[in-house]
């Protein structure tokens, strides 16, 4: 045989092709899709995939940021720059505004992850979004390992893990009645390392806090939290300057940094490949609330 071409597809290319397929399916079958964009690395990858899916046309849907009001300024700056660069329509669903209007009440501990959910659901209702792209990955957390690519949500945005639609081949069932919606997770099959490899391959810029820098932190429950307006040192805690970076970007009052010297994407890849602690385990205070914290939040309508 003169067949010399291997027709090889690397795993990253296969993952990209699958995600692009999913995005096009949604655009073809839904009325009002929106992409959840926080300025975090997963949603940055999502935006790149959306560019790829519809090129040379523009990304054909708006993006939405559920803004807890507890932001890292570098991330907000990045968000706005990227939105402008791509000519996107940005919808901001503000938790602070919702607190001011009495839609939700600030929790005693001041954290806002949990009260994001009603704010998200109110925005979905207001704009009548029927498909919401999220950057969640199944490797992040055990409840997420059970999540479908197309995740049906009832009119209250609730996830029912016992009543999910089976997903076969690449035939995704996005049918829903008015008021119901589908959460779509094109990165379901990606791991943290895949995301970093893709960032390197595509030369994507990220908010600077993903790379090692010096920051004033306090050590709390074994994690390093940046000292800022949301994290005030408690008695017994000492403020120290450490070289850190962030593995995830979330509510600044609950997202911890990790000690790291990785100041380039190559070094981060090296570090992620060697780490023995999951991304959420290392950085998210909210997941430590209970064994099923993520599942419980998802049932309420969280991503």
């Amino acid at each position: 045989m003169s067949q010399t071409k291997p027709y090889r597809v690397s795993h990253l290319d296969a993952l990209e092709a699958e995600s692009v397929f999913v995005m096009r399916e949604v655009m073809a079958e839904f009325e009002r899709p929106v992409l959840l964009f926080s300025g975090g690395k997963d949603s940055i990858v999502m935006l790149r995939l959306a560019e790829k899916a519809f090129a040379p046309a523009r990304i054909p849907f708006p993006v939405m940021h559920v803004d807890t009001g507890h932001n890292f300024p570098e991330v907000l700056e990045y968000r706005d720059a990227r939105v402008t660069e791509l000519g996107l329509n940005l919808v901001v669903a503000s938790v602070q505004e919702a607190i001011d209007n009495g839609l939700v009440r600030e929790l005693p501990d001041g954290t806002r992850n949990r009260i994001q959910t009603p704010v998200l659901l109110a925005a979905v209702e207001k704009y009548r979004f029927d498909a919401l792209f999220g950057g969640a990955r199944r490797d992040e957390e055990k409840a997420r390992a059970k999540e479908r690519m197309f995740s049906f949500r009832d009119e209250f945005g609730q996830w029912d893990p016992k009543n999910q639609r089976p997903e076969l081949w690449s035939l995704y069932n996005g049918r829903h009645h008015p008021g119901e919606s589908i959460r779509v997770f094109p990165l379901s099959n990606w791991t943290e390392l895949d995301v970093w490899h893709y960032i390197a391959k595509e030369r994507l810029s990220l908010p600077s806090i993903y790379y090692a820098h010096d920051r004033e932190v306090v050590e709390r429950d074994g994690m390093f939290y940046a000292v800022n307006e949301f994290i005030v040192p408690r008695s017994g805690e000492t403020v120290q300057t450490r070289t850190v970076r962030y593995r995830t970007v979330g509510d600044a009052s609950q997202t911890a940094a990790v000690l790291s010297d990785a100041d380039t994407v190559e070094k981060v890849i090296d570090e992620v490949a060697a780490t023995r602690i999951t991304e959420r385990g290392a950085t998210r205070g909210d997941d430590k609330v209970s064994e099923a914290a993520m599942e419980d939040r998802k049932r309420e309508g969280y991503f």
């Binding site: 990209e16 040379p56 997903e167 076969l168 690449s170 999951t278 099923a292």
Partner: protein, 432 residues
């Protein structure tokens, strides 16, 4: 480490290929332990996950760390000690990246196994060496064959509990091989293992000097999957038409989709179904620029030399190698809905490639007993987890191939029009 070395490693990591496999087995055969072991041995298990599992195990009074807790992520699963639904897990070695569809061993088993196997390159069935083949081992082998999963691995587990007795292994292996001979299973590998102790999982064990095959991980890393794709029959279901409303890009009209099979190249003569109109491929575009060829599973955008009316649900193929354009379809259907059975005369939505239509069940030829393979021709309906040969008539033609020839253009789902639930999975036997 030097920058050059890092870049080489990084390039190597980027060029790994992807193997999807589904695991099956009956309750207590050690499936969760095996998955836990694979994750552990490939350093894909993280210390915080392990600590969390150890803490929960200790709190529950388990005698040893219960690795099943790693995979049973939901409250109800932990409360009841059972696995409810398919979960997906990930690990990688320097050679390959793996996606495991971890399908539960009991409760709704057929449905879950079918779901996990639909996208799998390989199925892994576990049996307990002490018990030998059980009903479920045969059922899972049959489902692997029905879903045309190209590779099958039988792991004979708990070999430590039979003192690594070669005769036990050979007896089970022989029995399974003769059963598999009745099915369409082309590649079968049988490996004696102890998931609990890690023998023959990541490396060959000294406890089985009589076993000359590979360890499980070695087999998973080396099994040849590149030829499993159909590179012969060009099938490009049109997913979405890209027409930028832009002053910069004008007059662009591209047909976006994922190559289901075959190889497309600029200059190729093509036919568009169902219209039957012919044209040539002008270019194959991606966001990174045009490419010389496209093959599965690439997602690309095809432009043609002629202005013809093409929309979502149409199919681009070659003029002398086309799928059937058919409203009458015979298929094996696995029923997945617990609330209502599949009935003759009932109407559903059918989703096939990028095309959706309405369909009516014209007939149920037989219901298959997945344990004995006996055909019951008097069955009036298909209940949850039942499989049967069904005749369907669709409102618009499907552009379909036999499932045995093409898993993408041969598979479909049925959706209940009132509840919108996915109620059935079908594999086309004949379309006309």
């Amino acid at each position: 480490m030097s920058q050059a070395v890092l870049e080489t490693e990084e390039a190597a990591a980027r060029s790994m290929d992807l193997l999807r496999f589904a695991t099956a087995g009956s309750v207590d055969d050690g499936k969760s332990t095996l998955i836990g072991r694979l994750l552990y041995d490939t350093k894909s298990l993280f210390s915080d996950q392990l600590e969390a599992v150890e803490a929960v195990s200790a709190a529950r009074g388990d005698e040893y760390t219960n690795l099943a807790l790693l995979t049973d992520g939901l409250r109800a699963e932990r409360e009841q000690g059972i696995t409810i639904d398919v979960a997906y897990r990930y690990f990688a070695t320097p050679r390959r990246k793996f996606i495991i569809a971890d399908t539960p061993g009991h409760i709704q088993y057929t449905r879950n196994m079918v779901t996990g196997a639909s996208t799998a390159d390989l199925a892994l069935i576990l049996v307990d060496a002490r018990k030998g083949l059980v009903e479920q081992s045969r059922r899972h082998a049959f489902l692997t064959s029905l879903l045309r999963v190209p590779h099958l691995v039988l792991c004979i587990n708990k070999m430590d509990l039979v003192d690594w007795d070669r005769e036990v292994y050979e007896r089970i292996a022989d029995e399974f091989t003769s059963f598999a001979a009745k099915l369409e299973i082309t590649d079968l590998t049988i490996i004696p293992v102890s998931a609990l102790e890690g023998d023959n999982i990541a490396s060959r064990s000294e406890k089985s000097p009589w076993y000359e095959g590979p360890s499980l991980l070695h087999h998973l890393e080396h099994v040849h999957i590149a030829s499993d794709r159909n590179l012969v029959d060009v099938r490009f279901p049109v997913q979405y038409v890209i027409r930028p409303q832009s002053t910069v890009v004008t007059d662009y009209r591209g047909y976006a989709g994922q190559v289901a099979s075959g190889v497309l190249k600029p200059g190729d003569d093509v036919m568009v179904l169902p219209s039957g109109l012919t044209s040539k491929i002008a270019a194959i575009d991606t966001a990174d620029g045009p490419v010389d060829e496209a093959f599965p599973p690439m997602s690309v955008t095809v432009r043609l030399t002629d202005e013809i009316d093409i929309s979502r649900g149409d199919m681009i193929c070659r003029p002398h190698n086309a799928p059937a354009v058919a409203q009458d379809v015979e298929a094996m259907v696995c029923w997945m809905d617990e609330t209502a059975p599949l009935r003759v005369g009932a109407k559903y939505t059918i989703k096939h490639t990028t095309r959706s239509a309405r369909t009516v069940v014209r007939g149920l030829q037989y219901r298959l007993d997945v344990n004995t393979l006996h055909r019951d021709e008097s069955a009036p309906q298909l209940g949850l987890n039942e499989i049967g040969r069904v005749k369907l008539r669709t409102t618009v033609p499907l552009l379909a191939d036999e499932y045995r020839r093409n898993r993408t253009t041969g598979g479909f789902i049925l959706i209940d029009e009132a509840t919108n639930r996915t109620v059935g999975a079908g594999m086309i036997i004949e379309a006309q």
